[in-house]
Amino acid sequence: MADMKVNLCGIEMDNPVMAASGTFGYGYEFAELYDINILGSFSFKGTTKDERFGNPTPRIAECTAGLINSVGLQNPGVDKVISEELPRLAKCFSKKVMANVSGFSTEEYVYTCKKLDSCPQVGWLEVNVSCPNVHGGGMSFGTSPEAAAEVTRAVKAATTKPVIIKLSPNVTDIVSIAKACEEGGADGISLINTLLGMRIDLKTKRPVVANRMGGFSGSAIFPVALRMVYQVASAVKIPVVGVGGISTAEDVIEMMLAGATAVEVGAANLVNPYACRDIIEELPEKMKKYNIESLKSIIGGAI
């Protein structure tokens, strides 16, 4: 029997397949289609201290093998997430969920993480450091090792659950940032968030998304994500969650060989709402094809 179990920061998972933040809402839409308890887990929509509408529309642009989104972290704010979304989620998902957190200052990150830390449903805190740092000149927290480490330390000091820092790929040196997070006490690293991309509408001759640029993801970015997972997994001792362009069971295996302990499936959910289910169902067959008895055993196998 194919052994798909993995352990992410102390939490046992039936399989390494999670849905990525922002592409799975709070799970309800998918729960209408299949029992989402088959997932290893999922990371819910990026949560901030206050409610956010996000960016103006249009927010979506199509690309070859991917899409650009400029949703801009629309969410009801942490209080409503805890009072409304999590109880509703409890009805269709009985496993630990990953709480994805964003903020525009270290204090905001701490505030939101602290609140979510007290929710028994939450297994991991996934801290997305791709947001612009309003107190730090607008560059994102995730583009400097110092800023990323600072957020990590602050969140770790205020919480008890495993803290996974989610990194932006739009940097010169991903390894130095990941290492800074590790030194700051991170329990894991997840990567990658979206690549900054853009499309222009030839008819209107204007950018397709209202915000001009946005986050590019989907199968097109897989080689970049895989490379960064490989680089980071080679350099840190904490587990790495591989994200970016995954849409098949073979992609999952490739990511794990590159060093991922678990993976997240993003854009693929949007075009094939059964993507995660299909991948999980296909995994045993592909494991057999490539002579893999246990997924745990292949983590970092290509390093």
Partner: protein
Amino acid sequence: MKQGLFEIKENKPVTENVMKMKLEGDTGAITAPGQFVNIRLDGLFLRRPISVCDVEGNILTILYKAIGKGTEQMQKMTSGSLDILSGLGNGYDTSCSGENPLVIGGGVGVPPMYMLTKKLIGEGKKPRVILGFNRSDEIFYEKEFKDLGAQVTVTTVDGSYGTKGFVTDAMTGEYSYFYACGPEPMLKAVYKTSKTEGQLSFEERMGCGFGACMGCSCKTVYGNKRICKDGPVLRKEEILWQI
């Protein structure tokens, strides 16, 4: 919402650029007029949202204008099957229509009004239908609406057929309620001209089409809504115009 394969049964032009496609498949998830389907096409990452024009048993009819990569690809299809997510969106609520609702469709906003009109008539109501186009050669489905037994007014911007002007120029007389679908400037004009409550259907670029990505959000009086899941139909009273 349901995902399934639909077989192409027919794909014919109704005007130079507008095609009518009949598809056979499991239509069980389609519960209201004004809902849409989301179509996966070879080589294109995102699905293409197209309104339900009609459902008869397991036959789904859609009308679409070839305007870009996806719809041009569809235009060339003669057979085969399409991977479709069906039963998306809220659709129109006919319970509040009153006796004499006004049904207004403009351009590619016409298709969903067909199934709506059919339903209203089925419920014993007497809808008046206004179909707006730019020019006479862009007109489609006038006969089909008439065959449902509806009273139909066609408007053309250049006056080459029917009433000259915009759909709003035909929004005369008494009506109990209104339903509209069409380009945003039309919807805004209808909103302003209308003398009753009503429902309007919106378009937005979509990532998923079923509520998962927040790609299609809009602000309303009742908070943020997703055009794809909480819409595409909004009630007049809740609309906050962005521009």
